[in-house]
């Protein structure tokens, strides 16, 4: 039996808990920056799961290539989202998500 399999369940449980923590952060807050932090935590859980899958299957090179792509996408997403948050703040003078419910269009 592959010894790497011993790591599957412990890592998986921690990854699921990390995902739930990120989800809770996104659900519980009205602050836009905190919501982005929650999204980041969810992406970290997914990244770790990909790396774990590669480690168990032995395809570490493939999963590392995928993780690098994921990280690039994540950075661009956060950069644009942060730009949107700053624009919302400049418009509403607040970071509260409840203030942007009435949108035009």
């Amino acid at each position: 039996m592959n010894p790497a399999l011993n790591l599957f369940w412990p890592f998986s449980i921690f990854i699921i808990v990390l995902f739930v923590i990120g989800l809770y952060c996104m659900l519980a807050t009205f602050n836009l920056i905190r919501a982005l932090v929650g999204l980041e935590l969810i992406v970290k859980a997914v990244t770790l799961l990909l790396v774990l899958a590669g480690y168990i299957n032995g395809h570490t090179a493939l999963t590392q290539a995928l993780v690098i792509t994921l990280i690039v996408v994540e950075v661009v997403l956060i950069a644009v989202a942060v730009g949107v948050v700053i624009a919302i703040y400049a418009h509403n003078n607040s970071l509260d998500a409840r203030q942007i419910r009435r949108l035009k269009g």
């Binding site: 602050n31 590392q64 290539a65």
Partner: protein, 162 residues
């Protein structure tokens, strides 16, 4: 195994601190710390290149972005913070029960996961994998980066006009 467990427990504690702390700045620092611990876990899982990316980009660049945003915007008032702390537990008291119920439901489904896949011709060289096998990914990365740059330029142009 003990070291892995220590890293994972520290990772969860860092993530919890990130979510539960009141200050946004501490939240950003906690996220950077979580990223650093994820990078350590990646090193342990035999993925050093991805770990270096995670450490430099996620723990470095994204933290800088968050801290810049926090300094550019007004911090939350004390009253709003107190209201947030009171409400966050009250509004989502049912979340742990949902997670436990979902876990029990999934365990009852008896999902068979085939974990014993061998890797006979698995490539171990990340460089050749990135540049020879996953070329389309690189093209996608460049397009996404350019899209992000144009998006930010458009956003800040609009802000300047106003």
């Amino acid at each position: 195994m003990f070291l892995n467990m220590t890293i994972l427990v520290a990772l969860l504690l860092a993530a919890l601190w990130t979510v539960m702390t009141r200050s946004l700045l501490r939240c950003a620092i906690g996220l950077a710390f979580t990223s650093a611990l994820v990078a350590v876990a990646m090193f342990r899982l035999n993925s050093p290149v991805a770990a270096v990316f995670e450490l430099s980009v996620c723990a470095g660049l994204i933290s800088v972005l968050f801290i810049s945003t926090i300094t550019l915007t007004q911090p939350i008032t004390r009253e709003e913070m107190t209201e947030y702390v009171k409400e966050r537990v009250k509004r989502f008291w049912y979340l742990p029960f949902i997670v436990v119920a979902a876990g029990i439901g999934l365990s009852l489904l008896h999902i068979q996961i085939n974990l014993t896949l061998p890797a006979p011709e698995a490539q171990t060289n990340v460089r050749s994998m990135m540049w020879n096998v996953r070329q389309l990914d690189l093209l996608g990365q460049v397009i996404i980066l350019l899209t992000g740059v144009f998006g930010i330029i458009v956003l800040f142009k609009e802000a300047e006009k106003k």
